[in-house]
């Protein structure tokens, strides 16, 4: 290995650190129409009438579009492989509005001032309906969020719009009730995780234009470039061949941009007017009409025998998908599939779930994707079990954790072919100095310190679904173009895929050029989500390089007039040992540009029947003020097994960043609605994401296993990293105060009232 496992700076780093115009709004045409959305003030209402004539008179206004201008064809904004598990429950604009912030009309004009002025002059008459705001009462409620007849669920996910169900199901193995009844210790608790905003620094944004061929071009800050093409064609009811999508650099995603949140609006305007149009979501819009984490309530029953062997886990998850079902049926699955299998000695498990519609903003995909919620619940329950038994929670886990080679019945029956979870635990324990710090320490000033622990897993892509492909071309002088369909969202897939290619092709990174995604040019890739890119697309790189090397050798042999079976390639030249002949890659690259009938490029796709989990352990040290209940995170130690680390610097940053987001989720972040369904958390003033003063010290190490099905032994890193802080911090707080906070975030109020009950 030469560049794989090296901390290579990202291929686009220089442009980023010098502030070059590489993001969507920087490159949008200066004269394009400005598009904005008029949003509903009601959580549930029917539009009776929209008067736009006065607004249309504002100078500079190009068009105002309402539900009457949109196709009556339902679709989902979820960026998933077709047929999407998420129901087709949306129109671009609908007569029924389903949350405060839902789109009512689309306004386009020459400048922002005119558009804002016109927006104020649109008169909408609503028939206000009673909203359904309590997700615990949603199932079979008489208020229906989606009563319409053309609502459609494409996959058998247990959905029923007449019951407010976006999905439901139950699975398991063994008789949970029986095993639990025989357990010496049983924990039965309910945990509640809230909606959280991804809060990427670049809000949702897109611009659109018609090209010389009469096709709709969409330039968008998205993680799912190819899905955007399909979803927009469906939403606009036009052939897919009429749509091209380009992804420039994007300012963060974390799953938010796995939903096609904003693309439809300028696209509709461009289709109607033929003119270039752009939408830039304000931070407020990004907070009230986006795609946050699904709020979930999880009931956990967990039982252990007298020796502390965990024998049964039962999880019931109620998930709130909000007004629309984006990612509803799939996120909920992870709440069980990626929490229960952490424990390898179960005799029975059960996992049941309901995903319900309510009149709040639609949820979506957020890093961790349901696993985060499930792991908070199950890991908290295990810590409560340790407390009940009076044993060290680390020792309890060492006794029960899944080990390499074990079959994981609750994880689709997959085998843990690579698993360094035990080593992660051992190392984390050392890093945190666990044995010394586990006892609660009174600091003598009204403050107490203690530590907490949690384990986590995730997947690496969606097994037998996710598909990634790359193409590599040999150019003049023998440099390579690596065409990628996966959407680099800053986390660096353009770089790590080039690293893999460089190793496979025995060349330096400089000999490989990479470019952003363009659906007209890049090979198909489902996109950057589900922790798939390194594992799935990385394997496509490995395969492609094998094919390309064969072709390079065949060409070289042809030029040297040698049998192709006898030549070798060392990255710079093809050579024939017995005759001493050789030809450089440079010459081959130049030769094929003249009198050649076979292009020198290769392309391969990859999909995997398994989704090998990365594993990790996180430990938190907190200090709690006994007077006020205020929690301060002092130190966070995390050890990750993501298989071979392709780029240690980028993997470390992903881990530290994911931990900081998890810390935000644990301590600060909460999407709060009032009793009328109005979202209070509509800015960074109200919705506090951690600053550098709030995250303590974050320390990360890697304990790599080797994943036999992954490129260079790699698994994924992107999502797992957000999963441990909430349960580990809750645990540390419980140790310090005796208060187990089961509803996030862990605020001073909750701790204070817990202590002063």
């Amino acid at each position: 290995m030469k560049v794989v496992n090296q901390a290579i700076p990202k291929v686009d780093s220089k442009a980023l650190v010098t502030g070059k115009p590489v993001y969507t709004d920087d490159i949008a045409p200066k004269d394009c129409l400005v598009v904005k959305v008029l949003r509903s003030p009601h959580a549930h209402a029917l539009i009776k009438n929209i008067k736009t004539d006065t607004a249309m008179k504002v100078p500079g206004i190009e068009c105002i579009l309402t539900y009457e201008d949109c196709p009556d064809r339902r679709f989902t904004m979820a960026g998933q492989t077709y047929p999407e598990p998420s129901p087709y429950d949306r129109l671009i604009l609908d007569k029924r509005v389903r949350f405060v912030g839902d789109a009512v009309a689309v306004i386009a004009g020459e400048n922002e001032a005119a558009v804002l002025k016109a927006m104020k002059l649109i008169k909408v008459e609503y028939e206000v309906l009673e909203p359904l705001l309590d997700f615990r009462k949603a199932k079979d409620n008489e208020i229906l969020v989606h009563p319409e007849d053309n609502w459609e669920s494409l996959c058998p996910v247990g959905a029923d719009n007449k019951r407010n169900l976006c999905a439901s199901g139950v699975e398991g193995e063994g008789d949970v009730d029986k095993v639990l009844s025989e357990c010496e210790y049983v924990i039965e608790e309910t945990y509640h995780t809230k909606a959280n905003q991804q809060a990427m620094m670049e809000t949702f944004r897109t611009y659109t234009y018609m090209d010389a061929y009469g096709r709709l071009n969409i330039v968008s800050s998205t993680q799912v470039t190819f899905h955007v093409r399909r979803i927009l064609a469906t939403a606009l009811d036009i052939p897919k061949s009429k749509v091209r999508v380009i992804k420039p650099r994007i300012g963060g995603g974390f799953g938010a941009k796995q939903t096609v949140v904003a693309e439809v609006y300028p696209a509709l305007v461009t289709m109607k007017t033929g003119k270039a149009a752009k939408i830039i979501y304000t931070r407020e819009e990004s907070m009230i009409a986006s795609s946050p984490r699904h709020e979930m309530e999880l009931k956990v029953r967990l039982g252990a025998d007298k020796d502390g062997i965990i024998k049964a886990i039962d999880v019931y998850t109620l998930s709130n998908t909000g007004a629309f079902g984006e990612h509803g049926p799939t996120t909920v699955g992870l709440s069980g599939h990626k929490s229960i299998p952490l424990y390898g000695r179960l005799e029975a498990f059960k996992f049941a779930y309901d995903v319900v519609y309510t009149n709040v903003m639609s949820a979506g995909a957020y890093r961790g994707y349901g696993a985060t919620q499930g792991i908070f619940a199950v890991e908290s329950a295990v810590n409560e079990l340790a407390a009940k038994m009076g044993v060290d929670p680390v020792a309890l886990r060492e006794k029960n954790m899944v080990r390499e080679g074990q079959i994981m019945p609750a994880y689709y029956g997959e085998t843990a072919a690579s698993c360094g979870l035990d080593r992660c635990m051992a190392r984390a324990k050392e890093m945190m100095n666990w044995d010394e710090k586990y006892p609660v320490r009174d600091m003598g000033n009204g403050k107490v310190r203690s530590v907490g622990v949690a384990m986590a897993m995730q997947g690496s892509g969606i097994s037998a679904v996710d598909t990634g492909a790359v193409e590599i071309k040999v150019n003049d002088d023998g440099f390579y173009s690596l065409l990628i369909g996966a959407s680099d969202m800053g986390t660096g897939c353009d770089t790590i895929l080039a690293q893999m290619a460089a190793d496979c092709l025995d060349c330096s990174m400089d000999n490989i050029v990479v470019s952003g995604v363009d659906t007209d040019v890049s090979p198909y890739d489902c996109g950057s989500y589900a922790s798939s890119t390194t594992y799935i697309t990385g394997m496509a790189v490995v395969k492609t390089c094998e094919l390309l090397k064969e072709k390079i050798m065949a060409k070289g042999a042809e030029y040297m007039d040698c049998p192709k079976e006898e030549v070798e390639f060392d990255g710079t030249k093809v050579f024939h040992l017995s005759s001493g002949k050789e030809i450089t890659l440079k010459d081959i690259g130049n030769n094929v540009m003249c009198n050649n009938e076979e292009i020198l490029s290769a392309s391969a796709a990859h999909s995997s029947p398994v989704s090998p989990p990365p594993f990790m352990v996180g430990m938190a040290e907190v200090e709690v003020d006994k007077e006020t209940g205020k929690v301060e995170l002092l130190d966070y130690a995390a050890v990750v097994d993501c298989g071979t680390v392709i780029n240690p610097a980028l993997a470390r940053i992903q881990t530290e960043g994911g931990l900081a987001q998890g810390i935000g989720m644990a301590l600060y972040e909460d999407v709060v609605y009032d009793s009328a369904g109005r979202n209070f958390s509509n800015s960074f003033m109200q919705y506090k994401i951690p600053s550098r003063m709030d995250v303590g010290t974050i320390r990360v190490e890697f304990e790599s296993s080797y994943e036999p099905t992954g490129p260079f032994g790699a698994k994924s890193i992107g999502e797992i990293v957000i999963n441990t802080p909430a349960p580990a911090i809750a645990h540390a707080v419980a140790r310090a105060t005796g208060v187990q906070v089961r509803e996030l975030p862990i605020t001073a109020e909750k701790v204070y009232w817990g202590m002063n009950k």
Partner: protein
């Protein structure tokens, strides 16, 4: 109204409305490094220097810079590249969207504070949010950069 100011070393004029904020003006003038992350003075992405001091350009009326000197990352390319290399070596320009505003403040801090402690660095940069990196990599980059600079001076 007409204003005159120096933008990255060049004299420029602009006609602005009373409510135009500096952020929009400098972007209109082609300084695309300046980003908006929040509209509520919480994120620091829009940081520029006015007469050498860091300011949030989203909260500064364009009219206020009449006769003054405004610097964006476009005007500090050599310095940005120098510090940027440290940042990139840590991978701490993940999406890079917060990097320009952050780098503006780091450069200002390097001028203003001598030998800052970790706490001082954190405090100086508290207003610069980053959602990708968790801040540790940024801190490592700053410390290595300051150390190298100090080494060069001694």
């Amino acid at each position: 109204m007409e204003i005159k100011f120096i933008l990255n070393g060049k004299q420029v004029t602009a006609s602005v409305n009373a409510d135009t904020v500096l952020l929009n003006l400098v972007r209109d003038k082609g300084c695309y490094s300046v980003k908006c992350g929040c509209e509520s003075t919480n994120c620091g992405l829009c940081t520029v220097l006015v007469d050498g001091k860091p300011h949030l350009s989203c909260a500064l009326l364009a009219a206020r810079v009449d006769g003054r000197e405004v610097t964006t990352l476009e005007g500090l390319q050599a310095e940005a590249e120098e510090f940027g290399e440290f940042l990139a070596r840590e991978g701490a320009e993940q999406c890079g969207y917060c990097s320009p505003g952050f780098i503006m403040n780091v450069l200002a801090m390097a001028k203003e504070l001598d030998n800052p402690t970790t706490e001082e660095i954190k405090e100086y940069l508290e207003g610069n949010l980053c959602r990708c990196t968790g801040y540790m990599g940024q801190l490592r980059a700053i410390q290595k950069y300051l150390k190298t600079k100090k080494g060069a001076r001694e």
